[in-house]
């Protein structure tokens, strides 16, 4: 008989491969060590434990990467991933920012997950994911190392996302040859998915065109306790308590989870009716306890007349897209590549 915050380990063991279980359980354990009950975060230990990889301007499997400091004042780094050109197996290092060669090259601005507090653009798991996206979508990927909570609360992450969007949009070398414009997509998982929505919002009256939003298990919430939150609390790696902790760490002090950052279609949200908002691809995992909020997000977009495609992966847990050892992974990757390939 399981209490809602008692760990019920047997169910999640059944639905993921062993190495995935080890990976995600390891994160869960480590993250528990890092969150303090008083709302502070053990940042030093977090950085010590996080597995990071350096950029590599030598192509590995057809992808090379380099880091760019796009805003000195906030130390905002982005890691850029590019496909290596077939005719030039090694990049000429003075030409890392060589103009993209094709008629149409999608540029995906990626926001890593971590519930606003964990991980970085150079975390190994996200470096791997971004490299996959390059090959999959024949895209340039720009992974943003946004400032994290609790040291940097709302709206820092969105500000950094916006800075990155403006920067990407103004790079001549990222313009597609067809129309001399940068073809921008926003993508992110968990908190990164939340950032995608809010950066796209900010872009609305700016004249910067975002061609599409990709939200992987996006992090949304609200004051109400939904059915999925109650049913799945503690069952598949994630608890309501930790979700609450991260929102308290990110939202302005004193605000509750109906703040529009957390609940964009809630009582304090902004209506998107009649607004030119990018088309969205939203991926929801069937074992994610916040799925009711994610589905409500999709609904909210639909009601506002926005184009949205929902991919509901029934048997998936959080983090299924980190390792290519399950069918959900491949399904979602296919859909992403179609989403970015069409209507460029």
């Amino acid at each position: 008989m399981a209490r809602s915050n008692e760990v019920n380990l047997n169910e999640c063991k059944m639905v993921v491969p062993l190495n995935t279980w080890v990976l995600i359980s390891n994160f869960k354990l480590a993250y528990n060590l890092l969150r303090r009950p008083d709302g502070t975060f053990n940042r030093h230990l977090a950085e010590f434990l996080d597995r990071k990889v350096p950029a590599n301007a030598n192509p590995v499997d057809g992808v090379f990467s380099f880091d760019v400091l796009i805003d000195r004042a906030t130390s905002l780094l982005c890691r850029i991933y590019r496909p290596a050109m077939a005719e030039e197996p090694q990049p000429n290092v003075a030409e890392l920012e060589k103009p993209v060669a094709a008629e149409v090259v999608p540029v995906i601005i990626f926001f890593h997950g971590g519930s606003f507090a964990h991980s970085s653009a150079n975390s190994a798991i996200y470096d791997t994911l971004c490299r996959r996206l390059v090959g999959l979508c024949k895209a340039v990927v720009v992974s943003v190392n946004y400032r994290r909570a609790p040291e940097n609360r709302y709206p820092c992450a969105y500000d950094d996302g916006w800075t990155a969007l403006k920067w990407v949009n103004s790079r001549p070398w990222l313009q597609s040859q067809k129309d001399s414009k940068v073809h921008i997509y926003l993508a992110g998982d968990s908190s990164g998915g939340n950032i995608v929505h809010h950066v796209a919002l900010r872009a609305i009256e700016s004249g910067i065109d975002v061609l599409g939003n990709i939200l992987l298990n996006p992090m949304f919430g609200g004051q109400e306790r939904t059915e999925s939150e109650q049913r799945l609390d503690g069952k598949y790696f994630v608890t309501l308590r930790d979700r609450d902790w991260y929102w308290r760490a990110y939202l302005p002090e004193g605000e509750d989870r109906d703040h529009h950052a957390c609940n964009p279609f809630g009582p304090n949200g902004r209506s998107l009716e009649g607004i030119k908002f990018p088309k969205s691809l939203v991926v929801v995992a069937g074992f994610d306890l916040i799925q009711d909020w994610q589905l409500a997000y999709v609904d909210g977009l639909k009601k506002a007349g926005q184009e949205v495609k929902l991919l509901y992966m029934e048997q998936a847990t959080i983090g299924f897209y980190l390792l290519p050892n399950n069918n959900h992974f491949h399904t979602v990757m296919d859909e992403i590549s179609k989403f970015v390939g069409s209507g460029c």
Partner: protein, 547 residues
């Protein structure tokens, strides 16, 4: 400023992107299989043997149960424990478990088979995906190889800056090919371009130094220029200002001292051998820490190695006297000995007068790489020195080295790598505003650049190699790593926040710590101990603590 870092350029090597002329290759898939590492987890930064996955999972489960049952103890665990080498997941989980001292729970996953009376593992993990082809595993491990890293951090750059970089690389390529007249014309063009680029900071500044070094190489010849052009006295001054202007040396000293302090725990007669005394900047902090140690300080002997003074002054002894004075003031029994040698390879172990009863720490800050040049095919100096270090049976050997690949045989590779490395280092110096520290620090760095670019043979002493190569070499020479833990990491990070500009980053790398500028590590600190038996192939993961 455009900062690039290079392993290789087009034209110098053919083949796949991950090979390099001088670095060791990542273990081939066959070795990986032999070592049985799960490829997907390797891609996520964790080294776990596939055969151990189940065991690791069970231990994770136990920790989770413990976490739920006694949350208070768990948060104690969080704040007090020192963590080591998180990549070795099995060890990390085990160390947490042992900290937690859980009574053995009856593993529900074990069932007695009523027929055979043997325990059977209840396979609670899904086997439905076992048909998934495991083709992706090897790819991830390749990416983890750091032997041929090409790390680039750039910032906004103007056109002439980019052109300057391009020209520098092309000129270096001409030099490598022996096309001196073309190289010379590039030099002239670059001098001209330099007038149009801001040389006070950014690419213009570092480019100027590289242009000078190239000129020197072309016109003076590679045997020509002296090693650093300065006297020992001058070098010490420059080094001291480099120490003040940026945190690299402070980090080196601090991290090494931490490790030495831990290694000396419980020992009453300790002897530190410093391979490059300079002004003895590292030692006051250690002396003070030993003075404050619970149980009282040990008897501390310090042997400082340094170049002989030309004018009859015994500068080593002067430093020793000052340190003795400090030790006296904090009641630490202290003895100093200076060993004057122009080159580290001229030092013989008997000169150090190590007493068999004392615990020895060997401290090498940016010295080992100087031993990598070898004119003859006899035992190269590095092997000789490592061998006698081992014979001293030190409790610990602390090694700090520049995190760069400046010893590649191909000139162009070396040049490109140096351009990126020193660009990053100069960029980080921008944050320092104190003069004359900054200016003199720049001269110190400039001399390194000159040596890397314009010297060859025994004159080229700045033969930096990355951590990955040092790991291989030291393991092969009979040393095993002593992992630096989260406490050292945390203190280093905190010191950086207090004393340095934003942008410096401490990172943990497989038990070692690196300090870098933004995402580019520039200096790596590690600690080692001699193994008494033949060196193991796979570094033993179970010893976390020094001493």
């Amino acid at each position: 400023m455009v900062l690039y870092d290079s392993g290789r350029l087009a034209g110098s090597c053919s083949g796949s992107g991950s090979s390099s002329s001088s670095s060791s290759k990542p273990p081939p898939p066959s070795l990986q299989k032999q070592q049985d590492i799960d490829g997907l987890l390797a891609g996520a930064g964790y080294k776990v043997r596939s055969s151990e996955l189940r065991k690791v999972a069970q231990r994770l489960e136990r920790l989770e149960t413990a976490m739920v049952n006694s949350p208070a103890d768990f948060s104690q665990l969080a704040s007090d424990t020192i963590h080591y080498n998180p990549s070795d997941l099995a060890s990390w989980v085990d160390s947490l478990l042992s900290e937690f001292a859980q009574p053995p729970t009856c593993p529900s996953e074990f069932i007695m088979d009523p027929v055979t009376n043997q325990t059977v593992v209840n396979d609670a993990w899904t086997t439905t995906n076992s048909n998934m082809p495991q083709v992706h595993q090897n790819i991830c491990y390749e990416q983890q190889s750091l032997n041929n890293q090409l790390t680039v951090v750039t910032a906004m750059e103007e056109d002439s800056g980019i052109r300057l970089v391009h020209m520098l690389l092309t000129c270096a390529e001409c030099v490598q090919r022996g096309d001196i007249s073309l190289a010379t014309s590039f030099l002239e063009d670059m001098q001209g371009l330099l007038t149009r680029v801001n040389t006070v900071c950014g690419i213009g500044k570092v480019a100027g130094h590289f242009i000078d070094a190239l000129s020197r190489r072309i016109f003076q010849g590679i045997g020509g220029g002296s090693i650093s052009g300065g006297s020992a006295y001058e070098n010490e001054i420059l080094y001291h200002h480099f120490y003040e202007a940026c945190p690299y040396l402070k980090f080196a000293h601090f991290t090494a001292n931490q490790a030495i302090l831990e290694a000396f725990d419980g020992h009453d007669c300790v002897h530190v051998v410093d391979f490059n005394l300079m002004h003895g900047l590292q030692w006051p902090a250690l002396i003070q820490a030993l003075a404050l140690r619970p149980g009282g300080p040990p008897l501390l002997r310090l042997t400082g190695i340094g170049p002989p003074s030309p004018d009859g002054r015994d500068s080593l002894r002067e430093i020793g006297l000052r340190l003795a004075e400090l030790a006296r003031s904090v009641n630490v029994r202290f003895a100093f000995r200076g060993v004057a040698a122009s080159r580290l390879e001229d030092v013989k172990p008997w000169m150090l007068q190590v007493n068999p009863k004392e615990s020895v720490a060997v401290n090498s800050i940016m010295q080992l790489h100087r031993l990598l040049g070898s004119d003859s095919n006899l035992n190269s100096p590095i092997e000789t020195v490592l061998s006698w270090i081992r014979s001293l049976n030190p409790k610990i050997m602390t090694v700090v080295e520049q995190e760069a690949n400046h010893n590649q045989p191909g000139f162009l590779d070396r040049f490109t790598e140096a351009l990126h490395y020193y660009s990053t280092m100069f960029d980080s110096l921008e944050a320092c505003t104190v003069q004359p520290d900054k200016a003199l620090a720049e001269i110190h760095i400039q001399r390194e650049i000159t040596n890397v670019v314009s010297c060859e043979g025994s004159a080229r002493v700045e033969r930096h190699q990355p951590l990955a190569k040092w790991r291989t070499r030291l393991s092969g020479a009979g040393f095993r790593p002593l992992h630096l833990g989260s406490n050292a990491y945390k203190q280093a990070s905190m010191l950086l926040t207090l004393f340095s500009a934003e942008g410096y980053v401490v990172e943990e790398n497989d038990g070692c710590l690196t300090l870098g500028w933004h995402s580019r590590p520039l200096i790596a600190a590690s600690a080692w101990q001699a193994v008494s038996d033949a060196p193991a192939e796979f570094p033993a993961p179970d010893t976390h603590r020094p001493g």
